[in-house]
């Protein structure tokens, strides 16, 4: 059930070009069913190290080079995906690294490697062939040395030395529950190969990489997108849906840089009376759901059995029965004390305000505001009213000369009842209200009486079956 794509690393929307005119890629093959078919063609060929897959024409182009080859460059492409053989691009080794085809060319002791084609200063028995991969002076393991890839050195007194390339398992350790694990282990703890996240066979699943961009569901590497205890993957064994991966924990003795940055990030993100984003950093003591149902203690398994045992989620602060978000849900939540209701959100906890302290005030709707505040309430810089980028403005100094549209100052050219605003320099935010508040001595106008005539068009109509039946 393993896919031939399992041997490849995917770069979405990328093209790999060789800048040498003499280097020619393979011809486009347009008769392929899918990227798996391309992988099946490229896989066994010794001179195929990567391939392009054209998403619209469903064609593939085999390439004899990778991004680590000389004179190559990656480009953004709207048409192509780039697949490169893992053995050529992975910076760590699997098992003892016999299949390693990377470009490390220095030993663990810092000595430059001798080219395999040379017999000087250290003579040896190996002859480079496409099959044994003894290329340039790159570290290789042609004899299956248990210490991994090695090379003859350019130092006459040190004949050969290990290159000290770490196994993928050792290369990256797991912090907390490994939600941030971005290592390249692709087998489970029982040795089963992982299923690629972008495939739905042999197991169909909801974790499509394009939906979970922040989870880096790359190739078939172990990840933890759902707040599990440890990184895991779906397996290529049709009888075993998913399994944990055996990865080393970073443990309590973290390197100072990692330790510092993580704890700093945690302290900065701690929220006690409100929550930010999805509330993964919420550390307050609210202990009822928004429906008013008391929460079940995290260390209890009744009335609901669950996997979020506090000891297994040390970084999540699963104290008492406080609302928390240990699994990346939409908001802090808890198991409830009601047997009929397993879990519920604590949506009554307010969101922390992301707004700046107002830098000035306005009267009425702020149409007469002529101050120089030029930031939105979220701190985004305003776009100049006379500029056309990143947004093409509807109101300009020419079209609304009375509105005082100077520089990038907050103004209210359309009499917006919610105050002065501006177009923003963020391409994703067209306009927003400014870091201003209504002046203290200014009473907002009260809501008006309903208008006499209201006419609606093409809305608010429904077929009421129940009425008809009655």
């Amino acid at each position: 059930q393993r896919s031939p794509l399992n041997d490849f690393q995917l770069f979405r929307g990328t093209e790999l070009r060789n800048l040498l005119h003499t280097a020619v890629p393979g011809p486009w093959q347009e008769d392929v069913a899918d990227a798996e078919e391309c992988a099946r063609r490229c896989g066994p060929l010794l001179d195929c190290r990567a391939f392009h897959y054209n998403m619209s024409s469903h064609g593939c182009q085999l390439l004899p080079w990778t991004q680590h080859s000389l004179h190559t460059q990656l480009y953004h492409s709207s048409l192509c995906h780039l697949f490169q053989k893992k053995d050529y691009v992975r910076t760590c080794i699997m098992d003892n690294g016999v299949s390693y085809r990377g470009t490390v060319a220095r030993t663990a002791g810092g000595l430059p490697c001798q080219a395999w084609s040379r017999r000087f200063p250290n003579d040896h028995k190996y002859t480079p062939t496409p099959k044994n991969g003894l290329e340039e002076n790159f570290c290789r393991n042609p004899d299956g040395d248990p210490r991994g890839p090695w090379c003859y050195t350019t130092n006459r007194s040190v004949r050969f030395q290990s290159c000290g390339i770490k196994t993928c398992r050792e290369a990256v350790c797991v912090l907390c529950n490994g939600e941030d694990y971005r290592g390249e282990v692709d087998v489970t703890e029982s040795g089963r190969e992982c299923q690629r996240w972008d495939l739905q066979h042999p197991h169909s699943h909801p974790f499509q990489p394009e939906k979970f961009l922040d989870k880096d569901l790359k190739d078939n590497y172990c990840r933890n997108p759902d707040g599990s205890e440890r990184p895991w993957c779906y397996t290529t064994d049709p009888n075993v849906e998913r399994e944990f991966c055996d990865l080393p924990s970073c443990g309590p003795n973290l390197p100072p840089t990692v330790k510092g940055s993580k704890s700093q990030r945690r302290n900065k993100g701690k929220a006690l009376n409100c929550f930010r984003g999805k509330g993964e950093d919420y550390r307050g003591t609210t202990n009822t759901t928004s429906a008013g149902v008391p929460c079940q203690r995290w260390d209890a398994q009744s009335p609901h059995q669950h996997r979020f045992v506090p000891e297994k989620y040390a970084c999540k602060d699963l104290r008492e029965n406080f609302c928390r978000n240990p699994d990346g849900s939409e908001a802090p939540w808890c198991f409830t004390s009601r047997p009929g209701l397993r879990m519920a959100f604590c949506h009554q906890i307010p969101r922390c305000t992301e707004e700046l302290v107002p830098e000035g005030c306005y009267h009425g709707s702020g149409e007469q505001y002529r101050g120089s505040v030029s930031k939105t309430r979220k701190g985004v810089q305003c776009q100049h009213w006379s500029s056309e980028t990143p947004h093409k403005p509807q109101f300009t100094p020419t079209s609304a000369p009375q509105a005082g549209l100077e520089a990038n100052f907050c103004r209210n050219p359309d009499g917006d009842s919610h105050g002065p605003w501006c177009y923003t320099l963020d391409p994703d935010i067209l306009f927003d209200y400014c870091a201003l508040q209504r002046c203290d001595d200014d009473q907002p106008p009260s809501i008006l009486d309903p208008p006499d005539q209201v006419v609606f068009e093409k809305c608010g109509k429904r077929v009421d079956k129940s009425n008809k039946l009655r």
Partner: protein, 228 residues
């Protein structure tokens, strides 16, 4: 919905997270725009990749091939003015209107719903044991004046909020309904007068329920839909 009954609300949409689970409601105000609550959306700026709006079904867990079900990805979120608790979601493509999917009318700017107006809420949220939430439920609510509401809430109700009468028997919105509509029948049309926001307790007997008053923010809604 606590104390409701299965019903029909073709403008009520279900917000789905990246695993396809329902987590909030919303109202279809234009073919490509859904109004929901700020509490439902984790970011005003970051792309909501993988989130979808489901329409055209009364089932919370519709079958994959269910007729009339429309699933449309969310393209972007635009957060409302301060104090509004509103978010407009722009959909990747316009939905198709039919008997199962319809637009709800927006009220005139600053429109005040007369006390005593009969309105209804709709959603797939928690019913606290009053029924099951596998199909859309609706419940009727009577609007009360802010003045009356303020006698119970000691002056905390703002003009940008609208209240409905608290009944002896618990009836009201609950977890999973947030972002959905308080729709009132006016001039032969259903009009979105309120937006369901979290209250301290769901359907607290004798306590009025509080909603965001949509008419106060209609100018913002129209401006966003026009400019974006």
């Amino acid at each position: 919905v606590v104390g409701g009954h299965p019903g029909n609300s073709p403008w009520t949409v279900s917000l789905r997270n990246r695993q396809g689970q329902h987590f909030c409601g919303g109202s279809l105000v234009k073919e490509q725009w859904v109004l929901t609550a700020r509490q439902c959306i984790w970011s005003c700026h970051e792309p909501l990749t993988g989130y979808e709006v489901w329409l055209g079904t009364i089932n919370q867990n519709p079958q994959p091939g269910e007729a009339n079900l429309q699933r449309v990805p969310v393209a972007k979120a635009v957060c409302g003015p301060a104090g509004s608790q509103l978010v407009l979601l722009k959909l990747e493509r316009p939905v198709i209107l039919n008997h199962h999917v319809a637009l709800i009318c927006l009220p005139p700017e600053q429109y005040v719903v007369p006390p005593g107006t009969k309105c209804e809420i709709a959603g797939w949220g928690e019913s606290i044991g009053t029924s099951n939430n596998t199909v859309l439920h609706v419940a009727s609510m009577n609007v009360i004046s802010n003045q009356e509401c303020n006698t119970k809430y000691r002056g905390h109700i703002q003009e940008s909020e609208i209240c409905t009468q608290g009944l002896v028997v618990p009836v009201g919105a609950c977890e999973g309904d947030y972002g959905g509509p308080l729709a009132c029948y006016t001039h032969d049309c259903w009009v979105l007068q309120g937006l369901i926001i979290p209250n301290r307790v769901c359907a607290r007997p004798r306590w009025p329920a509080i909603f965001t008053r949509v008419s106060v923010f209609v100018d913002w809604i129209n401006k966003v839909m026009q400019l974006e």
